[in-house]
Symmetry: C2
Subunit: 304 residues, 2 copies
């Protein structure tokens, strides 16, 4: 299935859609259709993971894996683990105690469709499942590689990565005085940590040399920041119908964002510069990295 996705590397949108479908098939298999009294937590997990979404992180894993001849099965399983983890973070971030969002991908958020307790547990279970998937022998024949994936994902998503930044993000809501350096550091860690892992995962799976891994991490840092700036622009300029989530929330919250600091034009220019820098990093891969280049551009041109 993956070979089909990557057989025509010039067609980014088709590749993105097909990689999303492939990951959804694996997620569908991993979380059984609810049965028995614990059904509700499975139901909530399935609700959240099968609610659509761009599946950008899985795409990065698959595109990165293609550079190193990684097997389809390995790449798909890691792509799935990241999407499970990303979905957990969305469920918990949306909770009333956190961002209190009612709408996600055009549908009620998990705690709205179920309840807070179920949403907390569904998030916990998805986070746990992500590590279970990575550690499983099906993911890679070499257990040292699997351990490295677990370690890297844990670091990216834990207290010094994604979770730590969600903490800063919440505290920053009441502190509109953050400067551009602080905002950059915050967002680089928050969105960036998981995007960095997604971009690097193929290199870990393919046991790529350190210098090529560094190239992918540098690429990821730039697109991660560009992604966040694009999100801030969508929050300012997008509509709820387009983005599928509540918009204008940052301004209402008086929150410091790239847009509030740089202005709309400044933020757009900054995102453009980052995408150019990101694609420059990929020169060493020549044409083989065409999909990753397209992806960088897509990240700032998307409407949701």
């Amino acid at each position: 299935m993956i070979s089909d996705i990557w057989s025509d590397p010039r067609d980014f949108k088709t590749s993105l859609a097909e990689s999303a479908r492939a990951v959804e098939v694996v997620m569908d298999q991993l979380i059984p259709v609810p049965d028995g009294p614990e059904a509700r937590v499975h139901e909530a997990m399935r609700y959240a993971i099968l609610a659509g979404g761009k599946r950008l992180r899985p795409f990065l894993v698959l595109a990165g894996s293609a550079l190193f001849g990684v097997s389809q099965r390995s790449a798909l399983r890691v792509a799935t683990a990241i999407e499970l983890l990303h979905t957990y973070s969305l469920i918990h971030d949306d909770l009333p105690a956190m961002d209190n969002s009612d709408l996600r991908r055009g549908k009620p958020t998990c705690h709205k469709a179920f309840d807070d307790a179920t949403a907390i547990l569904a998030g916990d279970a998805l986070l746990t499942l992500a590590f279970e998937v990575l550690a499983d022998a099906e993911t890679h024949g070499d257990p040292a590689v699997r351990c490295e994936l677990v370690t890297a994902l844990a670091k990216a998503s834990g207290a010094v990565g994604m979770v730590g930044c969600q903490m800063i993000d919440i505290l920053a809501e009441s502190d509109p005085t953050l400067d551009i350096g602080e905002i950059t550091r915050l967002q680089r860690l928050k969105t960036g940590a998981l995007i960095a892992f997604s971009s690097e995962a193929g290199a870990i799976l393919g046991k790529a040399p350190l210098d090529l891994r560094r190239v992918l991490v540098a690429y990821a840092h730039d697109i991660g920041l560009a992604f966040q700036i694009a999100d801030d622009l969508l929050d300012t300029e997008g509509t709820a119908a387009e983005t599928g989530k509540s918009v204008g929330r940052d301004a209402v919250a008086g929150k410091a964002t790239f847009v509030s600091i740089l202005g709309i034009e400044g933020a757009r220019a900054q995102a453009e510069a980052l995408v150019e820098q990101a694609t420059n990093h990929l020169e060493v891969f020549a044409d083989k990295a065409a999909l990753l280049r397209d992806c960088a551009r897509y990240i700032i041109e998307r409407k949701s």
Copy 2:
């Protein structure tokens, strides 16, 4: 340090206290003293993990590891990972959306001392850190063993283990008609899954043969159930001062428990029978399992 703990295997209480101290030292090293804007999540993690507690699960890991000549460092790291994971489950269970508990180990619960958002994030970060600790090369020289630990802990704590049972437990609050079979299954999974992993971890670390692993799992199932019955008895008969947490909550909630179904004497007799059965399982280890036998008895005689 561990060798000291196990040098006099007849002294259970001293061993329990010393293993608790050893695990606390490792936890203290793992979670740095708060610094920088994400400090708050580290602060909440440290508040929760260093709040005391029996550290029963770490003790089981250390006692089980001693049966198979596992290195002190390996055993301590796995013991620590389990305590991190156990602590995350307490933080999330105590949240207003779940059990809504104000008191834990005689102190305000994490969300009371901080706030709900911080408590959710601290729990998420502890869960993530548990897997990071297991996957790290320091935990065991063989990455296949580390992957097996990650897999086993993920299964024990995920949607078909601990999290699934917390879901059933919440649903059961509004259903006092559960029968003894359903309650047993629920509690065996909820408390039992993590106790089973704690008891088996030493055998995984020591690459013990399957039949000895099964012995430890059988032992764990019995003490896990006995542990829950003892908890129900403490909730009925204990005082908040003794137990360090709110008591009498089950009766107020009209919740089906071992005590509500079997009566106080019936529940006590059942716990006694389980402890005897648990110690019988350990015959194959002869005197070497003395601490595990003492532990089984302690589980139903403790006052908190």
